[in-house]
């Protein structure tokens, strides 16, 4: 007695899905099972033809698509993966700059050799004796002259 494919295996074969080796072997040898699978396939072909119906004019469709394309090259937008790579690179650069700045701010000022007081005084005197240092000219005399002082003393209410 021949054991034919069970309904599950038949459905699997009709759906054109892979079968287990034993079922595939049986299908290859059994005319009855093969005929059932082929009959379903033929009905499916008929349904496909009915469903697809008439195809459009492919060349006309192609031309219509090309006519509808926006002018010029497509808008160059970065692909997501490239965008992520660029963002990662930018983040690395920023992180490196931040670390550098942190290092600089932590760096202690180098000790300098003390300058003798005499040298400082000499430099100050030289500056004061020289022409007026730009930016330090008094706009008005700070100390009033003697006549003004006398006038204030004589008439304190003025």
């Amino acid at each position: 007695m021949t054991t034919h494919l069970d309904d599950n295996d038949l459905s699997r074969a009709m759906a054109q899905l892979p079968l287990e080796a034993a079922a595939a072997d049986h299908l290859a040898q059994c005319l009855i099972c093969r005929r059932r699978v082929e009959a379903f396939g033929e009905q499916l072909d008929g349904l496909r033809r009915a469903r697809l119906g008439d195809e459009p004019d492919w060349e006309a469709q192609r031309l219509a698509v090309l006519e509808r394309l926006p002018p010029g090259a497509t808008v160059v937008a970065l692909a997501p993966r490239r965008r992520v790579r660029l963002l990662a690179a930018a983040a690395l650069i920023l992180a490196a700059l931040g670390l550098g700045a942190l290092q600089l701010s932590r760096r202690q000022p180098q000790p300098t050799a003390p300058v003798p007081v005499e040298r400082i005084l000499a430099e100050v005197n030289a500056t004061l004796d020289g022409p007026v240092y730009p930016g330090f000219e008094a706009l008005e005399p700070i100390v009033p002259d003697a006549d003004e002082l006398q006038a204030v003393i004589n008439n304190p209410t003025s």
């Binding site: 349904l47 009915a50 469903r51 497509t74």
Partner: protein
């Protein structure tokens, strides 16, 4: 020297995509020629015969505009199929907002069945064949939405299992299971299951 259309037909998808991104319309035209049948067959399953051509054009124009975002992780055909499906789903949502229309019926009517190019010569056999296909059509139309979608993409749009999985963003095992269930269910409807 500018390559001719026949030269471009030998060029691989990736090269054509790069050229089309740079504004080469002839390169994109070659991609259209290569994939328009596939896109139309997919669209046909979602929006019906009347709208399939328009949906195909929309999907191909969208693909051109979005070419720079194609990163090559999936095959160009798969990427394009996903755009086609999304275009159709947008169209279906738009229709739903606007209310149902008589021609929204996505089933093949009697006219479609009558137009079958039957292999059987005698009228009786032809009638029997039509009846069998009509019954199959009825059982297919009664499938749950997801099973029907996968069934149609496999047998009418003729996509490979892996392509369906990628286009619908599901595991290929899910596609196999749904397909098996769909066929089993249809056979039961037809009284073919013992």
């Amino acid at each position: 020297m500018t390559p001719t259309r026949s030269d471009l037909s030998q060029v691989d998808d990736e090269t054509l995509v790069a050229a089309a991104c740079g504004g080469d319309r002839e390169a994109f035209g070659t991609l259209v020629t290569r994939y328009q049948r596939r896109v139309w067959r997919v669209c046909r399953q979602y929006v019906g015969a009347d709208e399939a051509d328009a949906a195909t054009q929309d999907a191909l124009v969208k693909a051109f505009v979005r070419l720079p975002s194609f990163d090559g992780r999936a095959a160009f055909a798969t990427w394009l199929t996903r755009i086609a499906i999304n275009t159709c789903l947008d169209e279906l949502r738009r229709r739903k907002r606007e209310g149902p229309r008589a021609e929204d019926d996505d089933e093949t009517g009697a006219g479609g069945l009558a137009g079958l190019a039957d292999k059987a010569a005698d009228p009786e056999a032809r009638a029997a064949q039509r009846q069998a296909v009509a019954r199959l059509l009825a059982s297919e139309s009664a499938l749950p939405a997801r099973q029907r979608e996968i069934f149609r993409l496999r047998f009418f749009a003729e996509l490979e299992l892996e392509e369906i999985a990628a286009a619908l963003a599901v595991h290929v095992g899910t596609v196999k299971t749904q397909l098996h269930r769909a066929v089993h269910r249809m056979r039961r409807e037809l009284g073919d299951v013992r």
